[in-house]
């Protein structure tokens, strides 16, 4: 429909731009505010969007350096943010790797092999993943306090225990990977099996190399889920040095000791990398995020 744009279309476009910019201003305001606050002097002072006398003190504290205030006192960093970030990244990377490994092998069996209870298990997985872990926190706590008694390295207040707990959430990933496997032609594997390859070899040497894209998507999804997970981590971890970022961050806004400026710096520092990972990966992720709901 090639035609000259009428006046009304031009007005409509202008209105759309105006609306979008107004809306964006509202939406982005909190994020810009935090960046400004992280450079503002003090933890209470209220000021303008662009700080009048910017300071790097909050950033120094966030990076684990001590600062010296006007009175000459040395102020140590209030919380080990970098350590928390490292804990989060460690837990998220290891659990994402294990989740990819577990869900790929599962998905392979569901997509290619025939066995008893296959469709029942698939359906059960779909139903059970609807119940969030947060509903069973009491059971999680009881379960892990028992594990602590018999095998402390995997119990309460340990990172391996937390990673172990995160491995429960693979149902959706199994479905995603299974869907992808089913789009790959079977004939390659079948001919390899005819030549004497075992199912494991067919899976490991033929199917896996073809599935790298979906494995990357699942890895990033699992990584982001783990790094932003709050409820389970908040009941399993206790020591300040063991907390993940998601659990630790809230201590900055304790009403008794309100560290708004320090929080802003820590939030920008730790939130930025995660946000960037998400934005870079979003084109692939969007498919994976919606697939779980749409496909059945």
């Amino acid at each position: 429909m090639a035609m000259v744009e009428s006046k009304s279309v031009i007005y409509r476009k202008l209105a759309a731009h105006a609306f979008l910019w107004f809306f964006l201003a509202l939406i982005i305001f909190p994020l810009l505010m935090v960046i400004a606050i992280s450079f503002r002097t003090g933890n209470f002072a209220v000021g303008d969007i662009i700080p009048s006398n910017p300071t790097l003190d909050h950033w120094r504290l966030a990076l684990g350096m001590s600062i010296i205030d006007e009175a000459g006192r040395t102020i140590p960093p209030p919380f080990p943010v970098l350590l928390w970030l490292w804990n989060s990244v460690k837990v998220a990377v290891i659990s994402a790797i294990l989740i990819v490994a577990l869900s790929t092998t599962c998905a392979y069996a569901f997509a290619r092999l025939r066995f008893s209870g296959r469709s029942l298990l698939l359906k059960a997985m779909l139903i059970f993943q609807m119940f969030p872990a947060v509903l069973a926190l009491v059971a999680y706590y009881a379960l892990f306090s028992r594990i602590t008694e018999y095998f402390p390295p995997l119990g309460l207040n340990t990172h391996p225990g937390l990673i172990f707990a995160y491995l429960g959430g693979i149902a959706l990933h199994v479905w995603t990977i299974k869907g992808y496997f089913e789009t790959i032609d079977k004939s390659l594997e079948e001919s390899a099996m005819l030549d004497g390859a075992s199912p494991w070899q067919a899976f490991r040497l033929i199917l896996l190399p073809l599935s790298v894209p979906i494995l990357a998507v699942v890895f990033i999804l699992a990584f982001i889920t783990a790094i932003t997970e709050y409820p389970v981590a908040s009941i399993l971890l206790q020591d300040e040095a063991k907390l993940t970022l998601a659990v630790g961050s809230q201590y900055y806004l304790n009403p008794q000791e309100y560290k708004w400026g320090d929080f802003a710096a820590a939030a920008v520092m730790s939130g930025l990398p995660i946000t960037l990972v998400f934005l870079l990966a979003q084109r692939w992720l969007v498919g994976g995020l919606t697939a779980g709901g749409v496909k059945g």
């Binding site: 392979y108 609807m130 119940f131 969030p132 059971a139 961050s249 806004l253």
Partner: protein, 535 residues
């Protein structure tokens, strides 16, 4: 050539074959030991679950027939441990009185009572320690009569206070023998004794006459005896009744309350429960409390109502904003669509735990930037965290901010699928874009969106992180028996009952969680039905 490789392979598989059986056998033995240990401790449920898991695992990896199941076992087993079992266990707890005061199993509570001791008056011994190498000491006791006893060197190590998990406090058994003269060296100074005090409290000294002594003061040991003993069956004991050796009172476990209680002469329970309690089945009591006890039922219904309102409004708001933005961004003629799209997704890309905390700071009544703006423009400073209505409004604002990009992404995908000729046809009929939106776009979107909207409703129904990080459920409901707030959702309410304050009523929390399971289950079933119809 082929033959040799075959032979080598044969040898290899036979060796790995043996290795596999040895490893499996070892795993079986170790786990059998662990299961037995759990069973003895009274942890029947955990022992059973563990046994089933290990047995299935061993079968799957041992039997040739279960080859295919080896691929799914690890994944399915973790799902079983961390999704199915916690669900089932939560329902189980809902029928018990498991709580901070009744946290032990019966076996452990009994063991606790039986390990209690009391001091026998008049049998005091002065003690001193003599250094015997690094962290090793000899314990010397002197009776009032002048009798002296001494031990071999024993290691007494002050535990590292920061050690995780805390060092075990098992009793340290020390045997003493009689001597005539004290050792030929100065005893440890009081300062050292103070340092070792913590360890010394775990020491049980055995004299040659078989009496047990424990530390009773900074310089003294005293004879102790178990406080409770099982009533012998000759005196009518059934193995459950314990006798207090000091007062001769009888106590027995009350299996309805989960406490040991005193028995009167007729063998009936009297008096309050003796801590620590143990967990027992209480039937539907927790559910009845939720449904009938005014102190629990009132807040529960209020919170339930708010949870429904919150989830419904969150879906409506995010959907409304999401569809409008998606239609705008999908508009081919609009310049800079890519940039708009990227910026509009930003709230979704920032980790929720960070943006929620950012809003907590921005909405702060005195130091928050939002109130700063409002007071400059309108001269008002609303108490976002103190007024129930404002706090709820704030939750909805923040949740819409967090949630609209998801709806936008979903709608953008679905909009692409709407054929353009539909709009062209309606343009012929002289329709405008607003009518197009309501008569073409929205009706076509709704069908594939419905299951996703239900999922979104279920998600917001259980939106724990938002409430916990933003308001923690506050402001509190006045007159509630349990910790309950006006902005609490059912999930945060159960969390607070279970983990906040001194009550820690896991049983009640699990009963409410079970009710939520039922509701989420219904939503899940509806959703699966809808998706079936869709296909």
């Amino acid at each position: 050539m082929a033959v040799t490789t075959g032979l080598i392979e044969g040898a290899g598989t036979s060796a790995t074959h043996w290795l596999k059986w040895i490893v499996l056998g070892l795993i079986a033995l170790i786990n059998l030991y662990a299961v037995t240990l759990m069973y003895i401790q009274g942890e029947t449920v955990f022992a059973l679950v563990f046994l089933i898991l290990v047995a299935t695992g061993l079968y799957v990896f041992a039997a040739e027939r279960a080859y295919v199941h080896r691929y799914i076992f690890p994944g399915v087993a973790t799902m079983f441990i961390f999704i199915v079992f916690p669900l089932a266990y939560t329902i189980w707890i809902a029928f018990t009185n498991y709580s901070a005061s009744n946290i032990l199993t019966f076996e452990r509570a009994r063991h606790y009572h039986l390990s209690q001791t009391y001091r026998i008056e008049g049998q005091n011994y002065d003690f001193s320690l003599y250094a015997a190498g690094t962290e090793a000491y000899r314990l010397a006791l002197t009776a009032k009569t002048g009798e002296r006893f001494i031990s071999e060197p024993v290691e007494l190590r002050v535990p590292d206070a920061k050690a995780q998990p805390p060092a075990a406090t098992a009793p340290i058994e020390i045997d003493l023998t009689a001597i005539d003269t004290p050792p030929d060296q100065p005893p440890l100074a009081v300062k050292e004794l103070v340092r070792l005090r913590g360890v010394m409290q775990n020491v049980v000294a055995h004299l040659p006459d078989h009496s047990d002594l424990r530390m009773s003061g900074m310089r003294q040991f005293a004879a102790t005896r178990p406080l409770f003993q099982v009533l012998p069956s000759a005196q009518g004991g059934d193995g459950l009744i314990l006798v207090n050796q000091q007062t001769k009172e009888r106590i027995a476990p009350d299996m309805r309350l989960g406490f040991y209680r005193q028995l009167n002469a007729e063998g009936e329970f009297t008096g309050p429960g003796i801590a620590p309690g143990f967990s027992v089945f209480v039937g539907w009591k927790n559910f009845l409390r939720v449904l009938t006890d005014p102190g629990v039922q009132g807040p529960f219904l209020q919170i339930f109502g708010w949870t429904l309102t919150f989830s419904f409004l969150s879906v409506v708001f995010t959907l409304a904003i999401g569809t409008v933005l998606a239609s705008l961004v999908q508009w081919e003629g609009l310049a800079g669509r890519g940039l708009y799209r990227l910026l509009l997704i930003l709230p979704y890309a920032v980790p929720a735990f960070i943006s929620i905390l950012v809003f907590r700071g921005l909405f702060n009544q005195n130091f928050g930037e939002i109130n700063l703006l409002l007071s400059q423009v309108f001269g008002i400073r609303p108490g976002w965290f103190n007024d129930p209505t404002l706090a709820r409004t704030m939750l909805l604002i923040v949740n819409t901010w967090l949630g609209y990009p998801y709806m936008m992404i979903l709608c953008m995908g679905l909009l692409k699928a709407i054929p353009a000729d539909l709009y062209e046809a309606s343009a012929m009929d002289g329709s405008n874009f607003i009518r197009d939106f309501f008569s073409i776009t929205l009706p076509i979107l709704m069908k594939p969106l419905t299951p996703l909207l239900i999922a979104s409703f279920a998600f917001n129904f259980n939106n724990f992180v938002l409430v916990q990080l933003l308001t923690q459920g506050r402001p509190d409901i006045i007159g509630a028996q349990t910790p309950a707030g006006t902005t609490d959702l059912l999930v945060t309410y159960t969390y607070r009952i279970a983990f906040e304050g001194s009550g820690q009523d896991y049983g009640l929390a699990s009963a409410i969680a079970t009710l939520i399971f039922i509701m989420v289950g219904i939503l899940a079933l509806i959703n699966i039905k809808l998706m079936r119809v869709d296909r």
